[in-house]
């Protein structure tokens, strides 16, 4: 699937729930409206955690791609 070019990439490999989301929240705080964050994770739970977090924070969840043992999760920051 076609994914946008990320403005920032966060690698959380080797960390597990809830650390990838804690790191995501920190990164998003420093980013601007409409910017895209790519989160790389080895925690398979990112597939359910990221959409849930986006729903609660109203950032746009763009999806998660699996590549072997690794996951790539995409978020578009909404600050309006």
């Amino acid at each position: 699937m076609e994914r946008p070019v990320p403005d920032r990439t966060l690698d959380t490999s080797g960390r597990f729930c809830p650390v990838p989301i804690i790191e995501t929240a920190k990164a998003v705080k420093e980013m601007g409206h409409e910017q895209v964050l790519l989160v790389i994770a080895t925690d398979p739970g990112i597939e359910t955690d990221m959409p849930a977090w986006c729903r609660s924070t109203r950032h746009e969840y763009l999806g998660t791609d699996r590549e072997g043992r690794s996951f790539k999760s995409w978020v578009r920051v909404r600050k309006a």
């Binding site: 080797g14 597990f16 729930c17 809830p18 650390v19 989301i21 804690i22 929240a25 925690d43 398979p44 739970g45 597939e47 359910t48 955690d49 959409p51 849930a52 977090w53 729903r55 609660s56 924070t57 109203r58």
Partner: protein, 352 residues
């Protein structure tokens, strides 16, 4: 003059009671809510994911606080409290442990102290939780709840919306900032009233009660936890040790020597990540687990550890298995040719 909007800081576990309390405080009482969830480092979800375990249907356990946030459309801030201060509370609880390694009273006091600091920094009026009077045997009895509140310095500023009418009014209720008549008088272990309330308040998705996400209440973990504390002079434990305690099979070889054997691919991976400063051993020529040894083993202990590691690998039925030892710097040390233990009973007494 219009009445100002009260500000309330909620401690959200993600269970139904905390979801109801958030909904009541935000939508019924009309407060501005900031929801937080404390990450202690003793989370069952995290441990299961780390070890690579999946549920029967192939999915992994969701983070309940995040699910609750999605259902209620409220951001739940995840706050990492798994620092040295918290671990010190867990290793030296003033009010003692529950049935296992769970110092619930001290843990709650610590969390409420942190909540108080967040509340004051934010300029909030009170803290709220989903606690229900009489629901838990240790930490949710009337006098214990009062004791926790007092020790955390939150007297009069801790609202439990589900049981509020059974408890003394908080400052916010007394000052008319929030309406006490809109609060509830639920008590005990039944969930009947909460289920009805969920329906009434429009909460459709919530987790089944599972006794929380904390493995300090787990009997097997408690044994390993106390084994570590009992074998050192100072009651102190590190974050790395906690991760290791939740990983693999543990064997006490002597006062200063311990063996940890991975059970899954995920656990083997974790043990590899923590090999620095410990001996790492594995079967050289056949597939098998990764294991770590802490301390300085004697020759006899090295043989026993090697035979255990051989027992859990694919060479378990071979007459001899070569077990390779590497030191804490990852350098090759020695290869021991050992006979795998044939009978688990032979080393069962070493299992922690």
């Amino acid at each position: 003059m219009t009445k100002r909007k009260p500000r309330a800081l909620g401690l959200i576990s993600g269970g139904l009671d905390s979801m109801l309390s958030l909904k009541i405080v935000r939508d019924v009482l009309g407060c501005e809510v900031r929801a937080v969830n404390f990450y202690t480092g003793f989370c069952i979800t995290e441990t299961q994911r780390r070890s690579g375990r999946r549920r029967e249907d192939g999915t992994v356990k969701p983070n309940e606080a995040l699910q609750a946030g999605a259902e209620l459309e409220a951001e739940v801030e995840l706050i990492d409290i798994s620092d040295e201060g918290y671990l010190d509370v867990i290793a030296n609880p003033k009010f003692g442990y529950g049935a296992n390694a769970n110092p619930c009273i001290d843990c709650r006091i610590d969390m409420f102290k942190r909540a108080k600091a967040l509340l004051e920094e934010w300029g909030g009026d009170f803290v709220f939780t989903g606690e229900v009077l009489g629901q838990r045997p240790k930490s949710q009895r009337r006098h214990t709840m009062a004791l926790i509140e007092k020790n955390a310095g939150l007297e009069g500023r801790l609202l439990r919306p589900l049981s509020a009418q059974l408890l003394p009014p908080t400052i916010a209720e007394k000052e008319g900032l929030i309406d006490r008549s809109k609060l509830y008088k639920i008590s005990g272990r039944s969930r009947k009233e909460q289920m009805a309330l969920a329906k009434e308040l429009g909460i459709a998705n919530f987790p089944q009660p599972a006794g929380g996400c904390c493995y300090l209440t787990d009997e097997a973990f408690a044994k390993k936890f106390f084994d570590v504390l009992d074998h050192r002079e100072e009651r102190k434990i590190s974050k790395e040790e906690i991760v290791l305690l939740a990983t693999g099979r543990h064997f006490r070889l002597s006062d200063g020597v311990k063996l940890v054997v991975g059970r899954t691919e995920g656990e083997n991976f974790q043990l590899d990540m923590h090999a620095a400063g410990r001996y790492r051993l594995h079967a050289r020529d056949v597939n098998g687990p990764v294991a770590l040894v802490e301390g300085e083993p004697t020759w006899e202990e090295m043989v026993i550890a090697s035979r255990i590691v051989a027992r859990y690998g694919q060479g378990r039925d071979l007459p001899q298995v070569a077990i390779e030892w590497r030191n804490g710097k990852g350098e090759g040390e020695e290869v021991l040719q050992v006979e795998p233990f044939r009978d688990d009973a032979a080393f069962a007494s070493l299992r922690i």
